[in-house]
């Protein structure tokens, strides 16, 4: 049976994994390849790394970081941040990533999703979106608006409509990041995650707000999400306690959710 996925996600700044709350107040944790190796050995299902300064500094993604992580990680590896062109995508894949996450760039130039899907296959293209709860209007019927550039700029675009368009353009997965829930450790935004999962047929990744294993159980039972992003739960010093991948998986399996079990080798 196809299992649900736990994805460890790291924001990387100067090769260091860093942790923010509501996209601000970063604290550094450890070098990216070290954390990636630790969670890969702990049998996480996938790993995502975002070069969070690449866009702001208008430079290409740190390919050395991608290469260093790829050598340590034997599960699917997604990379995002600073990807502007097909050539950037090719370089990232060549450096050992499996998937490319595009966010603000896709809003500015939606055709890049189509180009990437045509060149490398749609399974490579993760459309990542920053969503914020807003009053329902004619322009934003879902009540969730798309933001870009680290949640600083609002686009006037409806989240569900953008997801549908992203799928049509060739996205292979959609990652729904809740700006409201990010860093709160109070659980995912089940409402928008569920709405998007119903509106498209590609897999949905829930992101933003996971603080305890039951938050994953909740998103997997109450929405059609295929995967959940975790980060703070694994290593943030801001949380009263952290959880191992094994603990999280055991709790989810006890709740009847199909997971790839932790196996001793």
């Amino acid at each position: 049976m196809l299992t649900k996925r736990l994805i460890a996600c790291f924001d990387v700044k100067n090769r260091m994994v860093t942790k923010a709350t509501k996209f601000q107040n970063n604290i550094d944790i450890a070098p990216a390849e070290e954390i990636a190796e630790t969670v890969s050995n702990a049998q996480i299902d996938e790993i995502s790394c975002y070069d969070i300064m690449a866009s702001a500094e208008k430079r290409p993604i740190d390919l050395e970081m991608v290469r260093a992580v790829a050598k340590k990680v034997f599960v699917p590896f997604t990379v995002g941040g600073g990807i502007r062109s097909l050539e950037d995508m090719y370089q990232v894949l060549k450096a050992g990533a499996e998937k490319i996450s595009i966010d603000s760039m896709a809003v500015r130039n939606p055709d890049i999703i189509r180009q990437g899907a045509e060149a490398f296959g749609r399974q490579c293209m993760v459309l990542s979106m920053q969503v914020k709860k807003v009053p329902v209007t004619e322009a934003i019927p879902s009540g969730y608006e798309i933001a870009i550039d680290g949640a600083r700029t609002f686009t006037g675009m409806d989240a569900v409509q953008w997801a549908i368009r992203g799928e049509a353009l060739g996205a292979g997965e959609i990652c729904v990041n809740s700006i409201d829930n990010d860093g709160t450790h109070q659980g995912y935004d089940l409402d928008i995650t569920g709405k998007i999962a119903e509106a498209v047929s590609i897999p949905i990744i829930a992101s933003g707000g996971a603080g305890r294993p039951e938050h994953l159980a909740e998103v997997f039972t109450k929405t059609g999400a295929s995967a959940g992003i975790i980060s703070s739960m694994l290593y943030s010093p801001r949380l009263p306690r952290n959880f191992t991948v094994e603990e999280i998986k055991r709790e989810l399996m006890d709740a009847g959710i199909p997971m790839r079990p932790y196996v001793l080798f």
């Binding site: 049976m1 196809l2 299992t3 649900k4 996925r5 890969s40 049998q43 299902d45 790829a70 050598k71 034997f74 599960v75 699917p76 590896f77 090719y90 894949l93 060549k94 450096a95 050992g96 499996e98 060149a119 490398f120 296959g121 749609r122 399974q123 490579c124 292979g172 997965e173 047929s201 590609i202 897999p203 295929s226 995967a227 790839r260 079990p261 196996v263 080798f265």
Partner: protein, 208 residues
């Protein structure tokens, strides 16, 4: 030495990283001479069957692969789309494939999320040395199409997605996994190591 075939749409670097991690000598190349001398060949795959066949044609590798794999029986492992092109024909891009394993590649039917993406169970079957003694495990899949070999004896692993489908093919020196061995954690690395052991059994000794 194992050759990982290097072509633009493949995820060759990931396969090479996994082999490096296991301490298995491997090179990422599309050089016919190195392919001829290899103890084993891996065709990685992402993207579509038609694009993969087109790449192999452009790199002029089709006769080289026929010679080494079909005639000289060099162990061959196709991964994901690299497995699908082993069959006669793929519905993806309506293209003729290598045809080493008689059968078709078809799209998953409606009613399941497409692509299938994530870890799914593989139940191993048959007596091929690649899977001998193994029962089942979880492996990472990303696919919208799946293989339907004509002969049940070519099927070495079965997975359920809407219905049971062939997720692992093994016939003599020709092997193919729909799942990504290089990206399935320790279980995948173990299978990759088994493939490398089969290559070593017939070692030619060439270096990269």
């Amino acid at each position: 030495m194992i050759v990982v075939i290097d072509y633009k749409a493949g995820n060759g670097p990931s396969v090479k990283n996994a082999l490096d991690h296991l301490g298995i000598e491997a090179c990422l190349t599309a050089e016919p001479e190195l392919i001829r001398k290899a103890d084993g060949i891996i065709l990685p795959g992402v993207g579509s069957a038609d694009a993969t066949m087109e790449s192999l044609r452009e790199l002029a590798l089709l006769p080289v692969l026929d010679e080494t794999v079909k005639e000289r029986k060099t162990p061959f492992l196709g991964i994901c789309v690299g497995m699908q092109v082993l069959l006669s024909h793929s519905a993806e891009g309506d293209c003729d494939c290598l045809g080493w394993i008689p059968g078709q590649v078809v799209r998953f039917e409606e009613g399941v999320r497409i692509p299938q993406m994530g870890y799914n169970t593989v139940r191993f079957q048959g007596g091929h040395p690649l899977v001998e003694g193994l029962e089942e495990g979880y492996f990472y899949f990303v696919n919208s199409y799946y293989a339907r070999p004509e002969s049940g004896s070519d099927v070495a692993g079965v997975t359920e997605y809407g219905h049971p489908f062939c997720s692992l093919i093994a016939r003599d020196n020709i092997m193919g996994s729909q799942f990504h061995m290089e990206k399935s954690g320790p279980a995948g690395l173990k299978l990759l190591e088994r493939f490398a052991a089969l290559c070593k059994d017939r070692k030619g000794g060439a270096a990269c």
